[in-house]
């Protein structure tokens, strides 16, 4: 790699990493507030409401299950609810509570849970 390319990569990283970390933290906060009741405080799908639910919430730590969904599908499921992707009505639409930016941050955090957190 030549010097210019290295410098450019460094600058990009320096500028984008704090923003990514902030986005991840925002996603984690939103996940705690809005998702853990069903998806569990660790994201494993074992939330406090589960005994009353006819369909098991998705385990967001399951890399195999999560890899089968694109970011666009996750975004749609959160924004428009489970029915929008032919899944359970128990997953409600959150578009009345969360902005698109909020939902993108949630998707980012779900990807972290499944595939980057080592869990």
């Amino acid at each position: 790699m030549n010097y210019s390319a290295t410098l450019l990569a460094s600058l990009l990283l320096a500028g984008s990493l704090p923003a990514l970390a902030e986005d991840l933290e925002h996603g984690e906060n939103l996940y705690t507030i809005y998702c853990t009741q069903c998806h569990g405080v660790t994201g494993n799908g074992d939330g406090v409401n589960v005994p009353a639910m006819s369909v098991q919430p998705r385990n967001h730590r399951d890399q195999g299950e999560m890899s089968a969904r694109t970011d666009a599908e996750l975004f749609k499921a959160v924004k428009e609810g489970g029915k929008s992707i032919n899944k359970s009505v128990l997953m409600p639409p959150w578009s009345g509570n969360l902005s698109d930016d909020d939902i993108h941050a949630l998707v980012r955090y779900m990807r972290h849970l499944c595939c980057e957190s080592g869990g």
Partner: protein, 232 residues
């Protein structure tokens, strides 16, 4: 003649509300006693962000007069019983276990009980707080009846309310307030309006907006009426 006019106004309810001075005194008293847990004025939600929901210790009361049944409120303040099985912020009351997440009872705080005079004073003040009359006025809901089976289906299979709420002791989810006494606690117009657009009342509510039409909202409200009228 003036006396008759005054008596007439009193009888029609025109002057039955506390005087402005008494209200201000009660407002200061409630702020000091309740303000650390309950919002008595609308918080600046956009400035606070969603994290406000994490730090919230009690439900906001700045629209209490649009929300509660006055008699129930006065009575409950004297003998408070838990409405939210997992508290006001469920993630803060839940811990993982081998059987899945469970509520840690040690995290749940009891609401203090007021004596009869304090409860009346507090309820009278809270019922004057009506910043959302326009939401109630815009709500199309006339309480009616619904067959139990149809009500149950709407509450469970069609809308999934039972994931978070119970419609009877021991039935349904734990993160939301129990709803088998909702009809006793809440004004019908509030129930319908809140189901239709919860964030219009509380931008940081954990209740999603399901996108239901007036008829679907009415069926759910009528089911709460059915089970609420049977609840002890």
């Amino acid at each position: 003649m003036r006396l008759k006019l005054l008596a007439g106004l009193l009888l029609t309810g025109g002057l039955l509300q506390p005087s402005p001075g008494a209200l201000a005194d009660t407002g200061q008293w409630l702020q000091s006693e309740c303000g650390s847990c309950h919002a008595l004025e609308k918080p600046d939600y956009p400035a606070l962000g969603h994290v406000e929901r994490v730090t919230r210790k009690g439900p906001p009361l700045h629209f209490a007069g649009n929300k509660f049944q006055a008699g129930w409120l006065e009575s409950w303040l004297q003998d408070p019983v838990r409405i939210r099985p997992a508290g006001v912020f469920p993630p803060g009351a839940v811990v993982p276990s081998d059987e899945g997440d469970v509520i840690d009872p040690a995290t749940l705080e009891e609401h203090p009980a007021l004596d009869a005079k304090q409860a009346k004073r507090a309820a009278d003040y809270l019922m004057v707080l009506r910043p959302h009359d326009e939401l109630i006025a815009a709500t199309i809901y006339e309480p009616g009846s619904i067959a139990r089976r149809m009500g149950e289906l709407n509450f469970t299979k069609f809308n999934g309310c039972d994931a978070c709420h119970s419609d009877g002791p021991g039935y349904g989810g734990l993160s939301g307030p129990e709803l088998y006494t909702a009809w006793q606690r809440l004004q019908p117009g509030f129930i319908a309006s809140f189901i239709a657009d919860p964030a219009a009342w509380d931008p940081h509510t954990l209740m999603p907006k399901a996108g239901l039409n007036d008829s679907a909202v009415g069926r759910l409200a009528n089911y709460l009426k059915l089970i609420g009228e049977e609840a002890p």
